[in-house]
């Protein structure tokens, strides 16, 4: 099991970084540029790990990124990666969808604590914007998840995947819920139009303002792990999971590309605009999907 966990983390690390390389490449092509190397994220992280000094504002500042990485890895481990095999089945059965929903926020809380300790008002401003945005951002996603749980009558992800083998994929059965969840996902990936918390022109670098060297590298690494985890979660919930590595990569990449394409073409919402928007159309779409599940499903 331990070997499998290590394997999984390595897979997520590599795939996540290459996805981010591709993300930068695709964005560049859309803006008619060449873009960096696909492996650019590796270079960046190795360079940051090999920085010769790193500022540190005290032990809470030190622990914040560690908590964030722990949250990301725990999330990753609790999400079933493959639908058929027994890969980490004994681990994923220890948690369920509600655990994941709340685990996904544990990491950002650790980060927020570190930012607060760093004492940079711009960082805290970014954190507060992020948390305010979260009020609206989680709404469609929660509705989608609740809809799926009620439809499957189980909060166990393995059960939701298994159910899709008999009833068909959730993306076809519950398209409205899928749309709602995807709009939230754009925000969870920090893409436009919901990328206000770290807006470089406004709040320096937002929550990451004071992080440098190995802390920044750790944040980047956990970011790629976490991104992969979120993609796998969406694939598990809506696309029926994946039974092989190729299918997993194909499906996660499809979701990822969709999110990039949405993110590239939009401008940036202010916090209140983002929340207002998310509380209207996406929530309405998701609620319609939910009503269908509860009353007709």
């Amino acid at each position: 099991m331990i070997f499998q966990i290590i394997l999984l983390i390595m897979l997520a690390y590599v795939v996540g970084f290459i996805y981010f390389g591709l993300y930068r490449n695709i964005t560049a092509r859309i803006q008619s540029r060449y873009g960096p190397s696909v492996y650019q994220s590796f270079y960046d992280s190795i360079k940051l790990f090999s920085k010769k000094n790193t500022v540190n504002f005290g032990w809470m500042f030190y622990l914040g990124p560690v908590i964030m990485a722990t949250g990301a890895i725990l999330t990753l481990v609790l999400i079933p990666i493959f639908s058929d095999s027994d890969f980490l089945r004994s681990v994923t059965s220890q948690g369920n969808l509600f655990v994941l929903l709340y685990l996904m926020v544990l990491g950002p809380l650790g980060n927020a604590l570190a930012v607060g300790t760093g004492g940079n008002p711009f960082g805290v401003m970014g954190v507060v914007r992020g948390l305010t945005r979260l009020i609206g951002l989680e709404l469609p996603f929660y509705i989608a998840v609740v809809g799926l749980i009620i439809a499957a009558n189980s909060s166990d992800i393995v059960h939701i995947i298994d159910l899709q083998k008999t009833t068909g994929l959730n993306i076809i059965n519950h398209p409205l819920l899928f749309i709602g969840a995807m709009i939230s996902m754009v925000g969870f990936f920090g893409e436009s139009p919901f990328d206000i918390p770290g807006a470089p022109q406004e709040v320096y670098s937002g929550p990451r303002t004071e992080f440098s060297g190995k802390f920044l590298a750790l944040l980047m690494s956990q970011g790629s792990l976490f991104a992969f985890a979120k993609l796998v979660l969406i694939v598990d919930l809506f696309l029926g999971g994946a039974d092989s590595l190729e299918m997993l990569i194909l499906k996660t990449f499809a979701i990822f590309v969709t999110i990039i394409f949405i993110g590239v073409v939009y401008g940036r919402y202010k916090v209140e605009q983002a929340v207002d928007f998310l509380m209207k159309l996406p929530t309405l779409i998701a609620v319609l999907g939910l009503a269908r599940v509860v009353w007709f499903g």
Partner: protein, 590 residues
């Protein structure tokens, strides 16, 4: 003196433990007037909860000097709660209720910060609660001819429907006021924030739970969840009654959460958060399913632990620094590190994040909502949960992180040990409830049997089972610790010279060096964006105070009208009285 009262507080616990569930005392005064104490599983749970809370608060009280009368009143209060939760009939219950009201009133009036208006608010609402309780009691007696709970319970089925409704509404109103449901929460915030700092913890953690106990008593015991189902019919998989009540609870939690974020006073934030958390409990209490009851009871436990922890923590900080506002505090993390860690554990619990106990209770409640298919209710709960992260972060940032906003905060010392001991115990409890959520199933099952609901399957200490899934708290907490330690080891192995404890002014500040008096604390910034969000602004700009204040002025005007009769010419007064009685007589004859 403190140690004596500490021992006195231990007595009820020993007393309960000695009887071990078989307590039954009856005091017969006349044939129809009996005082009885009966130990039910539900009452035992609440009794232990309040007794242990009193014990912990008494430990914390060692660090400050309190008068003898204060301790006596507090002891009286604990006795009153003991009476309430073990009462076997309404007379005992009501006596306990009144002693609780008055003893707490006198304790609150001893506070330095209290003003007459807040005191009036508190006593008025407490009296209203008592009146509504006594009205319910009298109506119930008129049908059952007894105050005994079991007699009333069996007589309830034969009552007319409108009487049943009236009873439920009257009792609910009484207990809602105590728990602070939105609309009836007018007294809560002022009282919690202006009471003596350590007493606030009792108010929030224990006294509000008496309202919850009352609701359990009415819905579960006297009316019975089966009876509620038959009375009101069902919607989805739950009852209509539960659905209505759930909306009240969800509205309470959402509104109070948004209000909490914008508070500047620490204790006001905690007061609103208390209202919000009790809103969760009220949401699930009426579902009438095993998981609903279990969730409500688990959250009662968790909320008691968390609010005790947070209020004691804040009381310690207020005592140490003399400041009670977010805009005046800040940057205490390296001055009072133990307090910081305790508060951190508290807010992780409050936000309901795994791996601590806060998650287990939320999980139970969410599953109850899924079980009954109350999807919108569940989304409301999740939504208020997401918004609560903001005030949780504000709590920890405003006090401990960021920059100190005044000079004396830079030289503050760690709070006295007597404040820390109860906090450490509570934090450990929070970790244990998170690691062994299954243990609670053993506690809850007798209560479910008492309410004649199905029991929850038990499979191991760490596993929390529910209708639609289970999770292993022990696994998650140990996995968290293992990953945390591993990553920490990895990151410390990477040798890049980190200069520890950098000067707090060495921040990226656009090339500038902040001066000593530059305002770097972001304490005011929370909730600024919130006002621009339409939905949140609609909640924030409304307030129940305008309603109650207009009610007060209307009452005043009416009483002035009456008082006018007594002044001036005595003949007129006599004439009016004569006319009044003759009119009465006339009506009577007809």
């Amino acid at each position: 003196m403190n140690s004596i009262f500490l021992l006195l507080n231990l007595l009820p616990i020993l007393f309960l433990y000695q009887f071990g569930g078989a307590l039954h005392v009856e005091l017969n005064f006349t044939s129809s007037f009996t005082l009885s104490l009966i130990q039910t599983p539900l009452g035992t749970f609440f009794a232990y909860l309040s007794m242990i809370s009193f014990l912990l608060v008494t430990i914390a009280q060692k660090s400050k000097k309190f008068s003898f009368s204060y301790y006596m009143l507090q002891l009286l209060l604990s006795l009153a709660m003991f009476m309430i939760v073990l009462a076997g009939d309404f007379i005992t219950f009501f006596i306990g209720w009144e002693i609780m009201t008055w003893s707490s009133y006198f304790i609150i009036s001893k506070s330095k910060n209290i003003d007459t208006k807040s005191l009036q608010k508190y006593i008025l609402f407490s009296l209203a609660s008592a009146f509504s309780l006594i009205a319910g009691m009298v109506i119930a007696y008129s049908f059952a001819h007894s105050f005994d709970f079991s007699v009333i319970s069996s007589a309830f089925r034969d009552m007319p429907f409108n009487i049943q409704i009236t009873l439920i509404v009257l009792f609910s109103l009484s207990f809602f006021t105590k728990a602070g449901v939105i609309g009836l929460h007018y007294w809560v915030v002022d009282t919690y924030s202006k009471a003596p700092d350590l007493f606030s913890s009792i108010l929030s953690a224990v006294m509000s739970k008496m309202g919850i106990y009352g609701l359990f008593l009415i819905y579960g015991h006297i009316v019975g969840y089966q009876e509620l189902k038959m009375m009101f019919g069902t919607i989805l998989n739950g009852t209509n009654f539960g659905y209505t009540l759930a909306w009240i609870g969800v509205a309470t939690s959402i509104i109070a959460t948004f209000k909490a974020i914008t508070q500047d006073e620490v204790k006001k934030l905690l007061a609103y958060s208390s209202i919000a958390q009790l809103g969760y409990i009220i949401t699930v209490i009426g579902f009438g399913t095993a998981y609903g009851v279990a969730g409500a009871m688990y959250h009662t436990l968790i909320h008691t632990i968390i609010k005790l922890l947070l209020f004691i923590n804040v009381a310690a900080i207020v005592a140490q620094t003399g400041k009670s506002k977010f805009s005046e505090l800040g940057g205490l993390i390296y001055r009072t590190p133990v307090s910081f860690v305790m508060l951190l554990i508290g807010i992780i619990g409050l936000a309901g994040m795994p791996p601590l106990g806060g998650f287990a209770s939320k999980f139970m409640m969410y599953n109850a909502a899924i079980d009954t298919k109350f999807a919108l209710i569940l989304i409301g709960m999740l939504f208020s949960g997401a918004a609560s992260f903001l005030y949780c972060y504000k709590l920890v940032y405003g006090i401990y992180l960021g920059h100190p906003t005044s000079k004396n905060l830079e030289t503050t010392k760690e709070v006295p040990i007597s404040y820390l001991i109860p906090q450490i115990i509570l934090a450990l409890l929070l970790v244990l409830t998170g690691a062994f959520p299954g243990a609670f199933i053993k506690v809850i099952n007798p209560v479910l049997v008492e309410f004649s609901l199905s029991t929850i399957p038990y499979s191991g200490l760490g596993v929390m089972n529910s209708a639609v899934g289970s999770f292993n708290g022990l696994f998650i907490i140990s996995a968290f610790v293992v990953f945390f330690v591993l990553i920490l080891l990895l990151i410390t192995r990477i040798k890049s010279k980190a200069k520890n404890n950098l000067n707090r002014f060495d921040i990226s500040y656009c090339g500038e060096v902040p001066a000593q008096d530059t305002s770097l604390h972001f304490g005011f910034g929370f909730g600024a964006d919130l006002h621009k969000i339409k939905f949140a602004n609609a909640i924030l700009k409304r307030s129940s105070s305008s309603f109650y204040e207009s009610l007060a002025t209307q009452t005043k005007k009416t009483s002035e009208l009456f008082s006018r009769m007594y002044y001036g010419n005595i003949h007129n007064t006599m004439l009016i009285i004569l006319l009044f009685f003759s009119a009465l007589f006339f009506i009577g004859v007809n």
